[in-house]
Symmetry: D3
Subunit: 252 residues, 6 copies
């Protein structure tokens, strides 16, 4: 993969955290965080912490009934005081925001891209991603952590002898890249995200294929070259996240 | 306080956990669990874990506007996979259950009983109690933990010089007692709670006064004597919880 | 039952109504108030009037299907102008308040405590308690009246030859007791309730066993002795209410 | 008013109640039924009973603010077991049915047609019409009863010296007429209503002017002549209802 | 049909559009407006434009299941900027207004009056009436247009050989008549409707029978004679609308 | 812009429509489609038709009040029978789907990227995008059409002398590209979209900068090279759409 990057200004911006432009925040994947879920992971990306619980449910959505295939889906929520100032509780307001629904649909699609639903059998892997503390990048952390939780739930099924094959086709992980002035920065924290002119959330497989690319101008439109520079950073970051996933699974 | 207990059968029942009838589960009050809330506590009662975050809001409900008095209120939620089997997400269903509303009203009332709302000034202490893992007694753990979170938020206001007096009048803590057969058992875990014939949730101040008593027959009505035996256990348990609160505050 | 009451200040307070501290308001249980319900009761406790209709439904909630057991449940509502000033209509607002849900759950649990659900067979007794006029104590009046309505519905089933045994195990009735200053007062009306420092709602069986105890500090925490004094008053009051229930059933 | 009625078959049909085709059910207007509302009426039309409470609110809807004019509006509800078989509680379902909204809009429009909103001053007359028992004709009984409740609330304001003029311009009352086979029948009860081919709800003033005409084919379309025959019956019935309103007001 | 019209002032009022009192706005019935619906019609009555789509659904409401009979129902909506000033989107507010529900119930009832539900077989004709542009009379235009869409859907079923008989018993169409001062005006546009003292929406069959009459005083009550004058205008207008329906079907 | 496209397989796939891989469907931008909106456009992309109405509202969201800046926002809806089979009406279900919210957020962000909100002044441009007929690509057509409607509304304000400067900074338009097997196809219709392995929705300015890139694997992950091939097609398509926008504005 080699695009000419005529604009690798990334190095010139000093990040408040002291991180290099292409440097991830410290990643910790804590497996077995809660005891009842078939797979449970607390993922930290710097100060962002998301609890990802995978539940195995012995049912599938109505449109899949009786076909012998399974389903993978996700729900997402932020605890009211996970953020710098308190947000309303969605359960109290009586509905999930558009942002919440957008994110949980993204997590579900991302995971399904690397699952063999036939091999899963007629059951649902339900991922609950709940943000305990939010410092930017919660949707990406959710995807990266949810994959580990789902893999642990699959291992649980395998140990119980309930799965013949392996429904996990590949890893999937995600990271954001932002454009701040002319600099491209990997894995934005909240204060960087607030000030950035555009950002892209990238979801990739272990094999380096794209699953989702969501690039958005936040006050600053961007060129194809800039997009490619951002994707370069994302790709390298995701490769590291996949390594963290492997380590977490190995030691779980 | 001395009621004749003609039926102290409590000792005769063997608890699965090996605990004595009047013994609390191990209590851990982890202060500063998240970083943005003005007061943040993760309280564990055995395997039950509740995150209690206190937010200071510079507003009061409409009925209090312009009176120079503050407010203390609470919201409660269970993460969908905090339980043995997954429960629906209330935000997705679009409403909070009757049980949830009952509990959050209880937490709010309990805290207000020990707060001087005039000394608090025209601001709100908003407590968010979110159950990370549920093994029985979540409403009681929420009250006990929320008090510590609220006290930390008050300390935060005091350090910032925003409070003249001390709005915290006393401790408040809560515990459940159950009736299993003829035995009264302190601080029921989930399996004990499922099998009990009646239970009582008791909320008391540090001075030993009652704030709330909620006794409920679950298949087994109970005598006044039994109620008193249960209250005896609760009172002793709450005294220990208050000690834990003090320790937590001292080391925070 | 004999607790030393070192504080029987009750007599010293003059009630606006002229009632003695331990005196109920006039109770009228009007059976057959509406004509379609299988059991219909208008209960008056002083100026509080609640219409309690019992419907026999030939279905049970999903979790009970096919088990040959029945269910008893309740719903509660206040007519918008049952109160001194008009309240919003819950159907128009689009949701039941937390208070409403709390009360209807309480009524349902209280009745189930004295029903043999197996003897009821696979049907539901659905109690609708609608407050026509509210002068305090509506939840207690609902329980006391609903029991009579339920008993009439059972009689209706028996007359129709649809019941082999008798699912009614005992009476259940309820009353409130309040703490005003140092005085304990039975069966609070609205103006007494507004001014009280603590109150307890007590639900008991005809045999004198406790079904529910809900004591709440409303600005004034209370001692175990005070709780016992309040329970003494309640117990005597409930015994009278049970007599009224018997009279009403006998003449229906 | 004299339209040639070529089809006065009305006399030939035997009504189950023994009533003549143009005969109202017994009407009872019980004033002062509840004690807190500024005007309170229980109206019975045969077995149909509707509680109509008029509340005086010191506010007007936003679109009327500051104009010195008042508003008259209504809400309608059926108690769940007012009917032969239990209906769902609208507050529990979380929304009012289309039928409910249609009826409460009708009641409000009907009353406004005979009120001088300027003479009312900047306040709202809020009518709550709650059906205690339903045997057909609840919307018509609501209008007839609500007018009396509203008039009582106006009298209450006048006695308190809060009204200079008289905002009540005329009476308003309502009745239904049905087409059963070829017969036109006044004031249908539920069993007649279920079997009728068309019906018309008519709202008229004391002066005999039309306020609302709502004719609906229920399986049987109808001619202009038939409509006129139905309106003849309605007009005579409404004149009697207006007399009942006068009697009720005079003795209140 | 001959009622003495002592007040045929209709001619004396000059309409802004230059129309005569009994003159319809230009009617255009555009069939096949969209391509997926089994019947699709854009009806214009002057500047009012409603898209009426008929869908054939292979299911019936629960209360009709297994009876071999069909159902005809309707839904109605206004695009947010169909009106002079933007209205809220009902989907965004989370509920349909009372007006919307009233209208869609009216459309459904009107169509069912001329359909043989047994001949339709166990399927539903679902009419969606969406107002693209609103200049008064949208409910009447919806009924008139929906009938054509429904007839086209029936033709679609017949061509596919799925219908033995013909479920369409007659035409149905609707128009409004208003009372402006003493003049009766046919087919009000928005500005006329805003200023009228009373109006009546009339739904009639091709045979000239009444299906619905909805007369409403909007500030001005009206006599039986006036009602008859309005019905005369409506009847003539509807006869023309039925001719337009025939023309549209013939050329579709 | 020149990326080596080692995989221009696009030409090899035969499209059902006969279109070339990089060919748009016929585009028609009908201005002035409805008469009340300040800007009104019906855009057709092949069989997809979206009505885009721009309303000028003299208010801004609360967070912008008093800052002298404006806002641009959008709502999106599909008529129930815009699709091949009927979908539920969102207003009837009582909530907008996650997909709907996702799309309307996208439209709003896309437009804001090319508007100078200060030059707009303290008013809102509210875009309503309602899908009359859906054959794929509705979100892209909405963006392309909404920009024209917004530009017309700005022209309306300018003609009325209410705008000093020009808030429109650039064009914005959108198109989808799909991956079907190894072929990349521009502007997918519904049947192509159903069968594609991945697609990307691209939003670009007139100057050729990216505003949004939303690439999604639908069963087939994709390489960076493939993404670039898709972006190449999109860029060329958007340039043509911008020309259509210019033509439409010029002739409006």
């Amino acid at each position: 993969m080699s695009y000419t990057q005529s604009h690798s200004f990334s190095d010139t911006l000093q990040r408040a955290s002291g991180r290099a432009a292409g440097q991830l925040r410290p990643v910790v994947i804590h497996t077995g965080y809660t005891r009842y879920a078939e797979g449970s992971v607390l993922i930290s990306m710097g100060e962002t912490r998301v609890l990802c619980n995978a539940s195995v449910l012995d049912k599938v959505p109505p449109f899949l009934k009786g076909q012998g295939r399974g389903w993978v889906t996700a729900e997402y929520g932020m605890l009211p005081r996970s953020t710098h100032t308190r947000s309303d509780r969605e359960a109290a307001r009586g509905k999930q925001s558009g942002r919440t629904q957008e994110i949980q649909r993204l997590i579900g699609r991302s995971l399904r891209a690397v699952f063999d639903l036939e091999a899963l059998g007629e059951r649902t892997l339900h991922l609950d991603c709940d943000v305990i503390q939010a410092d930017g990048g919660t949707r990406c952390a959710s995807i990266t952590g949810a994959w580990v939780a789902a893999a642990l739930a699959v291992r649980h099924l395998q140990k119980a002898g309930e799965l013949a094959g392996n429904p996990v086709l590949d890893h999937v992980a995600a990271v954001s890249v932002g454009l701040v002035g002319q600099a491209t920065l990997l894995d934005l924290d909240y204060s960087e995200d607030s000030g950035c002119g555009a950002d892209v959330n990238v979801v990739m497989t272990g094999a380096g294929n794209l699953v989702e690319v969501q690039g958005t101008a936040e006050g600053q439109t961007f060129s194809r070259d800039t997009l490619n520079a951002m994707l370069d950073l994302a790709q390298a970051g995701i490769a590291q996240l996949v390594e963290e996933q492997k380590r977490a699974l190995a030691s779980a």
